[in-house]
Symmetry: C2
Subunit: 396 residues, 2 copies
């Protein structure tokens, strides 16, 4: 049995690069950019009016003029015009191109218009209300770096430089595997000794949030079919994510089958609760990775968040995010196990406060549904006081 820290370090040492692929801009939200994105022209591409009003030449104001003849109207989308004389002005709308010969924009609130003439009611500043060409970014500048997460705002930048397609980090192909003869499908009525599959659906839902649609596979407790099916799943996926089948029981043929398939055990059993019988292995030759989580819901769910998500983020070259919370009630550590305790959290005065949930052990799916995540309680023998800061793993 190894420590949580050891297990975590082992997992994060095996983070393959799954390559890249090109996807449509409209399907790229949440993905990781695999290219630098540059400005295809200046941002903004022209001196752009930021107000509705009039464009004029400041030289006239300096000479003391404050009444200008209107010679036309410019709106966004019109090609650049020219102000024919600095005694005149042009009406200009937000987003329109500053006309040649003008250098200052005065908004409607600061002028009066009568009979084709605009009179200033407030003295403008030279150059005001213009979003200057190239002032945000110059042509050729890197706007988005390789490795950026594609957020809604990033989509806006990509659209503005004409990227209808983007190169993104490929996500791993994952097969989520349920095990055990006690499981029946969701649409079946279980006999008294049976239960419906729930872990794999929960994992599929969590994976959906990181953009991955896994395959689902079920293994009954039969040695031969287990090996055949696992071999096939390993061929067609990067990652196997198993739920159940790695405890010490007589019918747990899976570790054996995996080793027969060339998957090397990196560790089995971690000094943690829940999730002690976690088995982690790799098939070196083909860079396949197997996360084999214990079968009960809370263990599987905790391990997914504690190990798999940081692993995935590292594979995708995302910066690790260490989230911490403040305990709202004391917690007892375990003398030899790292604990992952279900909590609800709330925000208060800039702090995130975590309150432990009284669950009924690692089989209690219902209390899990109320949790916002898990706090990590290090091994120890002294009560962890209210107000202490702990690492937090947010539930999907």
């Amino acid at each position: 049995m190894i420590s949580f820290k050891n297990a975590f370090d082992h997992v994060l040492r095996h983070t393959p690069d799954f390559g890249n692929e090109t996807v449509a801009l409209t399907h790229s939200t949440g993905r990781i950019l695999d290219e630098d994105v540059r400005a295809d022209r200046d941002f903004p591409p022209f001196h752009r009016s930021t107000k509705d009003g009039i464009a004029l030449a400041f030289s006239a104001v300096e000479r003391g003029e404050n009444r200008f003849k209107l010679e036309g109207v410019l709106s966004a989308g019109m090609p650049q015009k020219t102000l024919s004389s600095d005694h005149n002005c042009l009406e200009i709308m937000t987003g329109a191109v500053l006309p040649k010969g003008a250098d200052t924009i005065v908004m409607y609130e600061e002028i009066e218009i009568h009979d084709g003439w605009a009179t200033l009611t407030k003295t403008p500043k030279k150059g005001q209300n213009i979003h200057r060409q190239g002032s945000d970014e110059q042509e050729g500048a890197i706007l988005l770096k390789k490795g950026s997460l594609i957020s809604a705002a990033v989509i806006g930048v990509l659209a503005s430089v004409g990227k209808t397609e983007v190169s993104v980090k490929k996500l791993p192909e994952i097969c989520v595997v349920s095990t055990g003869n006690e499981l029946v499908e969701v649409n079946e009525k279980p006999l008294p000794h049976q239960i419906r599959k729930s872990n794999v659906l929960s994992l599929a839902s969590a994976l959906e949030k990181v953009g991955i649609t896994p395959s689902l596979l079920h293994l009954a407790d039969e040695k031969n079919s287990i090996e055949t099916k696992l071999a096939e799943a390993l061929l067609t996926h990067d990652i196997l994510m198993l739920s159940g089948g790695v405890s010490k029981g007589k019918f747990d043929f899976i570790p054996e089958a995996l080793e027969a398939l060339g998957v090397e055990k990196i560790f089995h059993r971690v000094a943690q609760r829940p999730g002690k019988p976690f088995w982690f292995g790799i098939q070196k030759e083909k860079q396949k990775i197997v996360f084999s989580f214990p079968g009960n819901p809370v263990s599987t769910f905790a391990n997914y968040h504690v190990y798999f998500l940081p692993w995935l983020n590292k594979c995708l070259t995302l910066e690790p995010q260490r989230q911490t919370v403040v305990l709202e009630a004391p917690l007892d550590p375990h003398p030899s196990l790292t604990l992952f305790v279900q909590v609800t959290v709330k925000w208060d005065q800039g702090q995130t406060l975590a309150r432990p949930i009284k669950g009924n052990g690692s089989g209690d799916l219902v209390s899990l549904a109320q949790a916002d995540g898990f706090v990590c309680v290090p091994v120890g023998d002294k009560e962890i006081a209210k107000g202490s800061v702990l690492d937090f793993f947010q539930a999907s």
Copy 2:
């Protein structure tokens, strides 16, 4: 011009219920339950072993016996068996049904097995290692309340009670409308005075994260076509979300067109930056709502997060979530405008720290792509000190 608080209250006073619909369990992640979900049987449904080991009758241990004849093996998925004598025991795997006649489970680590006999190496406690029938929830109990957000863990609960389909709150049908002759499509090469559409793609990406796939519509600056197209969009959608077209300019025909279509202006212009020319209206008769955001990227994006998301959550009966952060650098308020300042955030010691981004005004899409969200800076005239707590709107 009304205050931010007033505008916000107005928006939250118009939160229709969009009804419900039935969706497949596998498509329900992120939706809001519109039914109470009850346990269809006890949770767990039988006395369930939580360890791999042996099942025995504690009465024998009380009599001083510590050696038991193995009479078989029970695994998860087998119907309940009976222990024939309290001198004997049955091997039992995690998840299996406790046999009749047994009441205690001893794990392999605390026994030795030789020649078909198990010898206890540690005295068990009566009833240990059993997850008792109904101890999590009893048949008929409400496991999930109407109004719950369907998280990955909730999916597990729904699966376990056999809900292949669930009743969820319907999401509004939204039409995202771009306006202005200066806009060209993402795949087009803009002329010097043109720019590519970006706001509507940004909004569509943000909406995708709340499960909504909007229609997209573009309105050129032509009075007649604007009214026809808006009429059609209003007929077929619950919500119009416009970007641009509501400032004071000569070519902004939209407020007029909306009023002609029976959309009543609730307010226009809010004492805030960015996003001052925000226009909000409703068509009372048919409960249609129009969010008309200013056309520049930062204004649209800020308004979406500040107004639309809380509005949507209220429509869906979700509890309002007030997030707060601690300022890492001082900020100057505005004497008469509420400011929404772009920030990056990081977690530290249970606190969320926010650092303002030096952006280049409301047209700067690139700085927006670096922001984690906006802090709300109330109207005022004194510097807001480092360490102050401000409301926070997280970017999608």
